[in-house]
């Protein structure tokens, strides 16, 4: 039972592959993604058509890794894309 952090990234589906590449390049050993829809400062995103749909990505790792990911994504994508990130401590069980 290891104490780790969980980072949840909600962003536009159109950049899912790019974000995944960044995460892996920064050292994440894994991630989990789901299709999503939602509302935010970029308006309503109904989940229909590629440009109107969101993805919810979870990454579990050490806080230092997650800090690096947060910093890079914030700098490169926050201005131009719908993006929400939050973290919380979790107990990894296997």
């Amino acid at each position: 039972m290891a104490e780790k952090s969980l980072l949840v990234i909600i962003t536009e589906s159109v950049i899912e592959d790019t974000i995944v590449e960044e995460i892996v390049a920064l050292g994440a050993k894994g991630f989990t993604a789901c299709d999503a829809r939602g509302l935010g400062t970029h308006g309503m995103r109904t989940g229909r058509w590629t440009v109107g749909s969101n993805v919810r990505i979870e990454v579990i790792g050490d806080s230092s890794l997650l800090e690096r990911i947060v910093a890079v994504l914030q700098e490169k994508y926050d201005a131009d894309y719908g993006l929400l990130m939050y973290t919380m401590p979790v107990n990894l069980r296997n």
């Binding site: 790019t18 989940g47 229909r48 058509w49």
Partner: protein, 314 residues
């Protein structure tokens, strides 16, 4: 001039959307329908391709693409200076209008077929060739004189291996290699069902267009005017070029429609990746919320009328 019922499915979708109906075309279905339409159009063109001498086709294609490039090049300053838009927005919208709409093209072809009006089979080659140069032009316009970096690798992959181009070209090549005899057993799937699938697709487009109409009010009269005037001028260019290239009158209507149409499948994705600081609501609102319905309800008959006048005057 009789009436083409598939456009009524678009209307039905708009009504459902405005009434906030629970009608939804699942996105998996939308994806499948668009793959079908792109492949079917490609195959149709590929089968007919063999009928034309390749050299002529290459030459006319050059003219069609070069003249087509004028559209984004003229649209950009109009948007930037008359419309007072940001460089990125102007470039992205210009790219949408320089590129083409496969569904608008299909509606026009259906329309011609219903009136038993012939057209050149290689129009589909122009459709493919017009799809992407405008996207690259759009990025150049957005970046010209700025220090912003472009993810060119991502953009080029998007443009050349984006599903839109890939399926059109793939279908074209398969149709060309296989030829009419070998493709015949596929006709029942790819050709006979085409119009029905188009109707289904238009229903979904109506639903999405309805959700864009609210956006438009916020962006104002200039953009709405642009989304009607530019297609008409582009269509005029198309008819004159068709005349010059000695295309049939049906071919002229289709080339006019291609020039007049604006992309909402390939361009939004490509621009979102390559020019992310552009607001996608502007370009999609104009192309899907105004230009698309304008074209299928009023534009195509108008372009036909233009073709008739100009060809008669020839």
């Amino acid at each position: 001039m009789s009436f083409e019922p598939v456009v009524l499915f678009f209307l039905l979708g708009v009504i459902a959307g405005l009434a906030r109906s629970d009608l939804k075309i699942p996105s998996a279905i939308y994806e499948a329908l668009s793959i079908y339409l792109l492949l079917a159009i490609g195959l149709k063109g590929g089968v007919k391709l063999a009928e034309y001498p390749m050299a002529t086709l290459l030459l006319t294609s050059l003219f069609v693409v070069a003249a087509g490039a004028l559209i984004p090049l003229a649209a950009f300053p109009a948007l930037r200076y008359l419309g007072r838009m940001s460089r990125a927005d102007a470039a992205s919208i210009a790219a949408h209008y320089g590129s083409v709409s496969v569904v608008t093209f299909s509606v026009a072809a259906t329309f011609l077929e219903q009136h038993a009006m012939a057209y050149e089979g290689h129009m589909i080659v122009y459709l493919v060739l017009l799809e992407f140069p405008a996207l690259i032009l759009g990025v150049l316009l957005a970046r010209f004189g700025t220090s912003e970096q472009t993810r060119w690798d991502r953009l080029l992959r998007e443009v050349f291996f984006g599903k839109s181009i890939l399926l059109l070209i793939g279908g074209l090549v398969i149709g060309y290699i296989a030829g009419p005899q070998s493709i015949a057993p596929l006709d029942k799937f790819f050709f006979d069902l085409f119009k029905g699938v188009l109707a289904f697709f238009l229903l979904e487009m109506g639903l999405v267009a309805a959700s864009r109409i609210a956006d438009l009010r916020r962006y104002g009269a200039f953009l709405v005017g642009f989304a009607v005037v530019v297609p008409i001028l582009s269509a005029l260019l198309g008819v004159f070029l068709a005349r010059m290239l000695d295309l049939s009158e049906g071919g002229a209507v289709l080339l006019a429609t291609l020039y007049a149409s604006a992309s909402y499948i390939a361009a939004p994705t490509a621009m979102r990746i390559a020019v992310p600081e552009a607001n996608p609501a502007l370009s999609i609102g104009a192309s899907l919320g105004v230009t698309f319905p304008f074209n299928i309800f009023l534009g195509i008959p108008l372009y036909w009328w233009m073709a008739e006048r100009i060809y008669a005057g020839g």
